[in-house]
Amino acid sequence: MNSQTNRLNGGLVDQGQSLSFTFDGKRYQGHPGDTLASALLANGVRLMGRSFKYHRPRGVLTSGSEEPNALVELRSGGRQEPNTRATVAELYDGLQANSQNRWPSLKRDVLSVNDLFSNFLTAGFYYKTFMWPKAFWEKLYEPIIRNAAGLGRVSGEDDPDAYDKGFLHCDLLVIGAGPAGLMAALTAGRAGARVILADEDFVLGGRLNAESFELGGMAGSDWAAQAVAELSAMDNVRLLPRTTVIGAFDHGIYGAVERVADHLPTPAEGQPRQIMWRIYSKRALLCAGAMERPIAFANNDRPGIMMAGAVRAYANRWAVTPHQQVAVFTNNDDGHRTAADLIAKGVQVSAVIDTRADAPAVEGAELFAGAQVIGSKGRLGLETVTIRTAQGFTRDIICGGLAVSGGWNPNVHLTCHQRGRPQWDENLAAFVPGETLPVGMSVAGAAAGAMSTHGAVQTGAEGAIAALGDLGITAKAGDLPQAEDAPVNLQPFWHVSEGKGRAWLDQQNDVTVKDVKLAHQENYVSVEHLKRYTTLGMATDQGKTSNMGGLAVMAEMTGKSIPETGTTIFRPPYTPVPMGTLAGRAVGRHFHPVRQTPSHKWATEHGAVFTEVGDWLRAQWFPQPGETHWRQSVDREVLQTRASVGVCDVTTLGKIDVQGADAAAFLNKIYANGFAKLAVGKVRYGLMLREDGIAYDDGTAARLAEDHFVVTTTTANAVLVYRQMEFARQCLWPDLDVQLISTTEAWAQYAVAGPNSRALLEKIVDDVDLSSEAFPFMACAEITVCGGCRARLFRISFSGELAYEIAVPTRYGDALMRRLMEAGEEFDVVPYGTEALGVMRIEKGHAAGNEMNGTTTALNLGMGRMVSKKKDCVGNTLSERDGLNMADALRLVGFKPVDANETVAAGGHLMNADGPVDAAHDQGYVTSAAYSPVLQSSIGIGYLKNGAERMGEVLRLANPLEGSEVKVEVVSAHFVDPEGGRQRA
């Protein structure tokens, strides 16, 4: 037998097919075309959720994305979606939903006890109590509040679905596919413009599918289907159903979310769940329609009390009624349509209660003109409403559903996204789009206040023609389809003052008329104060169904008009968006691209441990059989390099090719030290300052020809230095003849370091004399290797050993690494990674990122004399400020533990040998530390006040964070070969 007791005939659902789904574990049947809400109603389920604060039983209020009440947890496991609106959840076979914010069950929710204490839990009560005893807030009160609050649960499991992002371009973006949007798209499409038509619904047509009246001499839904068919046949039109335009951003850019697979159990293989489209529109036409608003009255929140337009939509589109007996409560003609449509569908309309004394008659139902609903009964679902008639009698009316209409609010949300303010329309008693719209946006249809179907198609066509006109595209109006053009007959009416019990404004956040009155009493009168104090409109619906009511009550209290009282502006997103959709594919391991070095393949084969250096993956060390701790590997790599020879991939250093007649003059300006006189075939260390005089980056510049340099930067600053050099070239010295381009990736570069590096390279290079006489320290040359492979050779050293850096075109980098290892066998060559590199540079006292931390000067680094005063260069003027040249300025020095077994910790702070250990007595800090296998001791370098003058002094290195304090001796930062003899060997 059919359990769908409230299913009517007809509608846009396929009653020939059944879909099975569960709600709170109970199995139900629905049909293709249903939403979860329509299917539950069809099955006689009115109770769908619990409210946020008082855990009041709630049913579905609307039939759209503005739904505040019917929020469920959809799906399970990693796909569990809390707070899913049953009104937009498309039914699929096997759909699984659970109610939320209740325990143990939806019918019996323990926390509904809150409702009994509601009088104590009025707006803002928590600001006035829970302050004593102080400790109790965090330990007792807050945990209770946190557990009671919140709505759905997040599973905590990883979301298994993928999300795409995309970029679309069009002449005209039409937002909303109701009568106005469809007419606009047709008009623009027929004119040949590039059109995108987006609508959040899975069936295009908007209210045309929810109403019973005709358009163009046929059922509205048929006209919509016909229009959609014509549009989908146009190559220049792109239809985006199930796509919500979530925000209007600067310069015609719109965000839109397409729900690709939410109507399926799981996305198809390789398919995303949703797509985040960024739409670049030359013009946009907002045809978002309007939203019906409630009338507040005592206990107006019982399951079964719904918006009149929603009841109509359920009946006409989904062939569903909330109950077999429904009453209507309205202040305008539109509410009467609900009565008529229900009657036509065979539903008993027990009464039409119209606040207007002159309400038009209704056929087939009793009319109470000039009457009000003053209360309702029914614990888990509406049973009766009590009304006060025009004559002053009270009367109970039996009904399981009440369709409420307080009039319609144009859907102005997107017009506010750039902080435009809507303006008041007396006739509609509603806000309509204001003067200042986002640039390129215009509005048509009900969203613009044209409430009739005729008004919609007319303004839709006109809107499209005008928008395209701006773009020089001529579109023709053509004949408009025949449509109803009923005027808006409405008598503003916001809430019923009579009646026992609370009258609800914001049903999700449980804000009542009383709460607004209290806010007024306590002077939280400005709309923003009202919102924040009562939480009105702060729920997941952003107040779509509640803001107006709250404003109206506040206006009543202040004696001002509604527009004087103010309006809250809406913010993106229009409806809540899964964060996965906004994140897209760049998450997990693909959060950032990976940059691999030329020797990556070889290093992987040789068991390298890799580390992230920016986006680069670099070999950190190369464990050998038997090595159980990384230190063993690193020590070996260091010792073997210093004893014989080691090879390290240094491709990641930035390389910028600098050419031009003025190349030398240019480098002279961006480096603090001089470059004009650097000879061809030579390399020089360069220190770059920021304009504020702080050390920025360092590297080398090799002069390959009079007009040709290759500059290296640190790995971290490669992009920034290139940017800064382009700034200097284009903005500061535009008439210097210099051209720049990055060659970081084009060359595979390896450091070959150690006493045997020359001997090793001699086996590789094609007859080049590498003797110190022919190729001294800091020499460079373009050569060939391995029988003719183009290469660049630099004699520079980061390790302090006799060392070279050799570069070949990247594609040969892998082969060169293999060749170097093979040729180096006789010297027991080792590959070394970034750890050994770091150890050797600390042993040598070379500054790196930890030292050039953006706050240190050349003086701090001990390079004060390098900053030329004889020329103009970036940073030299401001580097002379007193604050950067204090007598006791920090100086880079070395540290050794007095007891060689102790460890120097990077990040430790230096304190005098005796005296207090606190910030006031801070002498400096250690920037980098390592274990030196050469000195067989932990060592560090760092900054010490007046450090250059304090050699040999013993200090305390305080590391209270890790509870250690070590005595360290101040030494030169050059632990190994301070004279530099080795690198010149």
């Binding site: 850019i253 003027t877 401001l878």
Partner: protein, 95 residues
């Protein structure tokens, strides 16, 4: 936002890196009497108007041109876009 690149036409601002006040082009003379003061004002006291603002953007994800964009900081409306190199020359910057 969309920046109408003088050479490439409309490009998403996301392709650009923002630097700020275009007066950063007007770097003071290092040998001037008041060089220290001039550099202080140049680097630290930049324009920050509520309204039309001339500012430097770098097309890093594009052709690497530095641009001078005139943009309203209240509405984000962009009224002109120039190649910074041309602006710099017009300001008398050279070698």
């Amino acid at each position: 936002m969309i920046i109408n690149h003088p050479l490439l036409g409309p490009r998403d601002a996301q392709e650009f890196v923002y630097l700020g006040d275009a007066t950063l082009i007007e770097r003071p003379d290092w040998q001037a009497e008041n060089a220290a003061e001039a550099f202080h004002d140049y680097l630290y006291l930049r324009d920050n108007p509520a309204g039309a603002h001339r500012e430097l953007w770098y097309h890093e994800q594009g052709d690497r041109s530095w641009l001078v964009v005139t943009r309203n900081t209240l509405t984000h409306e962009i009224t002109s876009v120039e190649l910074a190199r041309d602006v710099a020359r017009a300001k008398g910057r050279g070698r």
